[in-house]
């Protein structure tokens, strides 16, 4: 018997209309856990580097995390994996909500889409009955609207729906997949879904999902619950509000936006507005929030209320969480009222709330600077905010300049030429980033920006404080109950970290410590992404309920796989390396691993080089960022190095010499 997982994937060939229920190999679970880990294994095995995002051979994998559907609190995430049209690399975007547990109860761990449907369809998974249904009547419908229409036509109010809007249908490179209060937004998942001709995947499940050692597992869950309650009463002092409490950043609950509005950049990630926040704005924005927000809501089996239901006057209801609250507002130099209203439309269209506003601000900047002209925007209104609605419509319909902008700032700038590239300034690996422009290089963040293969920094950070605490006594107090660290040396790193003087940024934490810290933080995110755990109760947070010490027990008693900290660390390193291997096979190298040029004003090239060299070495990658033969062998990934040698990505002499060079 399989525990925590069902042991079956649903393979759907959209070209032929064929559906198969395929048993999976339990050994793969042991090696790659589930979710992101096993998704990566499938992508490595089946999608070669020659396959483009919009080729029928590309896969779109919806993987429920290993522990989704069990009582593990907050474990509800679907890891969507494919080749991104924007970055041309492996993309994995995740969504919370209710979809992954429902898929487990329907009897599957993953849905794997391949091929392309000749016409628009949706997939209806009702336990053992799975059918591909015509969706021509849903063409052009909003993502949330689609979910409602499908539930009605199937008469299944309890079915969970993941759907795309017009942006996905038109293959906008930053189209999202929307699912109630959650979405898989980054990396163009929705574009690939639209390319495959799939409007929605609908799931209803009423089967049992087993756990291996029930009493033991429940005790772990109860401990987590108690700790969540304790943390609610004991917010971490000395850090900004959204970092002091658990959950996805509590953007729907808090009103004080001084920190975001004054520290993040407005427009096309350009302008810092210090002293922006004042009482008048605070009151206006609070009134907006209170007039539109009906309720704070949660994902499946989670007490954190990170999302909200919003109803802008005269518009239909939608749900929101996290930082999309401010991305449209800040891109347009506008207010929260505008931000919510346009976000409603953007959510129905199904676009990423990070990339879309930035692309629009980028277009207007090109117009201001004469790189684009009025002729490129026929019929565009004069009003600033109306322009954003205009641009959003053009983009999701791929009309005129919208067709160019729909590919994101990197590709749009290339196509527009005439110096436009300078304006696509906030990308990593061709993907738009949070609008942050800061002063002095931060080595920890430097490594995360460079090497994060999620290509989204919030998905790697969290376990270690972002900044030193002013006094030693504060730090001593902080480390006292910091049992989540994998080793006590991390406490020492933090204790000795001073805001100023010898032990301060950018030379303290030292290069070695920095690598250690980043490796730990990244590892925790990768564990979450395999188990389906929300980072809001885990890797995104200081002193989280889930950590390296209780995770092995959850996996052992839940999935029945013998696990300890060393084995879990190694498994995580295995599929993390596999994610890198997929991208290396697709041509990613050290030259691609850099933050936006203007992210920090003060850069230190020698230190940056040393950081990357050392981190690559720690990870078992050579000086070009390629996993070495030895490290691949250690991880049981000989099949990867064999292919690397066949393709000339590794050669005997080169591999040895570059690992020696980086070990210096």
């Amino acid at each position: 018997m399989r525990y925590a997982e069902t042991g079956f994937n649903l393979e759907v060939d959209l070209t032929r209309g064929n559906i198969e229920r395929v048993a999976t190999d339990p050994r793969d679970t042991e090696l790659y856990l589930g979710g992101l880990g096993t998704n990566a294994k499938i992508l490595w095995d089946r999608v070669g580097p020659e396959v483009e995002a919009f080729a029928p051979e590309n896969l779109l994998i919806f993987g429920a995390g290993l522990l989704c559907g069990t009582p593990a609190i907050g474990c509800n995430r679907t890891i969507v994996t494919t080749i991104s049209p924007q970055t041309k690399l492996m993309a994995f975007s995740m969504m919370g909500g209710f979809w992954a547990p429902e898929l487990k109860y329907a009897g599957y761990d993953k849905v794997i889409l391949r091929g392309k449907s000749p016409h628009l369809v949706y997939l209806w998974i009702n336990n053992d009955q799975v059918e591909i249904r015509d969706a021509s009547h849903l063409q052009g419908k909003g993502a949330i609207e689609t979910a409602e229409l499908i539930r009605q036509e199937l008469n299944e109010p309890k079915a969970q729906v993941a759907a795309i809007g017009l942006a996905g249908e038109n293959r906008v490179y930053y189209a999202s997949i929307e699912q109630g209060r959650s979405s898989a937004s980054r990396g163009g998942m929705g574009a690939v879904m639209g390319d495959k001709g799939v409007k929605a995947i609908v799931v209803r499940g009423t089967n049992d999902l087993n756990v291996a050692r029930p009493e033991e597992y429940m005790e772990l869950c109860n401990e987590v619950m108690e700790y969540i309650k304790w943390r609610e009463d004991h917010p971490i002092p000395g850090v900004i509000p959204i970092l002091s409490v658990l959950g996805s950043p509590q953007e729907m609950a808090i009103h004080d936006e001084k920190w975001h509005t004054e520290n993040f950049s407005w427009g096309n990630s350009r302008v810092r507005r210090k002293n922006f926040w004042n009482e008048e704005i605070a009151k206006e924005w609070m009134d907006t929030m209170n007039s539109m927000r009906t309720r704070l809501i949660s994902c499946y089996n989670c007490p954190m209320k990170c999302g909200a239901t919003l109803t802008p006057p005269g518009q239909s209801t939608f749900m929101m969480k996290c930082f999309t609250k401010l991305t449209y507002t800040m891109a347009a130099f506008s207010n929260l009222d505008f931000g919510f209203k346009i976000a409603q439309r953007a959510t129905e269209y199904g676009v990423d709330g990070y990339s879309a506003p930035q692309v629009m601000a980028f277009a207007l900047e090109l117009l201001e600077n004469g790189i684009l002209t009025d002729d490129d925007f026929p019929g565009m209104p004069q009003d600033n905010e109306e322009r954003f609605y205009y641009l959003l419509d053009k983009i999701v319909r791929r009309e005129g300049i919208g067709d160019v902008l729909a590919n994101g700032t990197h590709w749009a700038a290339k196509e527009i030429g005439n110096g436009a590239e300078e304006y696509a300034h906030n990308n990593i690996k061709k993907h738009e980033q949070l609008p942050l422009k800061l002063g002095m290089l931060n080595p920890i963040y430097f490594l995360m920006y460079c090497t994060g293969e999620k290509i989204n920094v919030t998905q790697i950070e969290g376990q270690f404080p972002q900044a030193p605490f002013p006094k030693r006594e504060h730090r001593e107090k902080f480390v006292k109950d910091w049992f989540q660290v994998p080793d006590d040396r991390f406490k020492q790193y933090f204790l000795d970290w001073e805001p100023r003087g010898e032990n301060s940024m950018p030379y303290y934490p030292t290069v070695e410590m920095t690598c250690d810290i980043v490796d730990w933080m990244e590892r925790m995110h990768y564990i979450d992404d395999a188990l389906g755990m929300c980072a809001g109760l885990s890797s995104f947070h200081l002193k989280a309920p889930y950590h390296i010490h209780n995770y092995p027990k959850f996996i052992s008693s839940g999935a029945g796989i013998d696990m300890d900290e060393a084995k879990l660390t190694k498994a995580t390193k295995r599929y993390r390396t596999l994610v890198r291997a997929i991208n290396i096979r697709r041509g990613m190298r050290r030259k691609d691993e850099k933050p936006p040029k203007d992210h920090w004003k003060k850069r230190i090239p020698e230190l940056e080089k040393e950081l990357l060299d050392s981190y690559y070495n720690l990870k078992g990658w050579n000086s070009d960022g390629i996993p070495t033969k030895e490290s691949l062998h250690d991880l049981g990934l000989d099949y990867v190095s064999e292919e690397f040698f066949q393709r000339g990505i590794l050669t005997d002499g080169e591999d040895a010499s570059s690992s020696e060079a980086s070990a210096e």
Binding site: G69, Y105, P214
Partner: protein, 178 residues
């Protein structure tokens, strides 16, 4: 027959729908607790509590499984409260032939909330840390019920078998003949 006062503990779960965050932890833990062996499996479809949930309409109502009803009601009800329309028979706790609620998904056998016998409090209450579900216990004096007469027991079992309406129809036909 004598009438005697007797003490009885009334367990009430106070449901505050305004506090519900729609996470369905109550459904999850209910199905887990009632699995055999305990906690060995999860399946909200087996839960004895369900959250009537329509996020876009801001509807979140936890409802507990009550008694099994052999026959459906003669008519149905549909509520609109504060402009929110609820599904037909939404608030009803019965497991009845008119719908799939509160039945085991495989066998169709009826489910009924047992307040998690043996636990300090029902686990749905324990897992609802926002207090949308709160247990309240009080003592009440109740009158000892009269023993049922033989005839009534007989009629009840007939009603169980054929449905009450059929028995009433039969009785009225019989009385017309007399």
């Amino acid at each position: 027959m004598t009438e005697e006062k007797k003490k009885k503990t009334i367990k009430t779960i106070k449901i505050d729908v305004d506090k519900c965050n729609g996470c369905r932890a109550c459904e999850m833990i209910c199905s887990s607790f009632h699995a055999a062996p305990k906690y060995s499996s999860n399946n909200p479809a087996r839960s004895r509590i369900r959250v009537i949930r329509d996020p876009l309409a801001d509807i979140y109502i936890p409802v507990y499984a009550g008694d099994y009803a052999v026959a459906e009601c003669a008519g149905r009800d549909k509520y609109t409260i504060d402009g929110k329309e609820y599904d037909e028979c939404a608030f009803c706790r019965a497991s009845c032939p008119s719908r799939d609620e509160f039945k085991e998904p495989d066998s169709g056998l009826p489910l009924k909330c047992d307040m998690c016998e043996g636990e300090d409090e029902p686990l749905c209450v324990k897992w609802c840390i926002h207090d949308a579900l709160v247990l309240e216990e009080r003592e009440e004096e109740v009158e000892e019920q009269d023993e049922k007469e033989e005839l009534e027991i007989g009629l009840e079992s007939l009603a169980d078998k054929h449905g009450l309406q059929k028995i009433i129809d039969a009785l009225s036909r019989m009385s017309e003949k007399e």
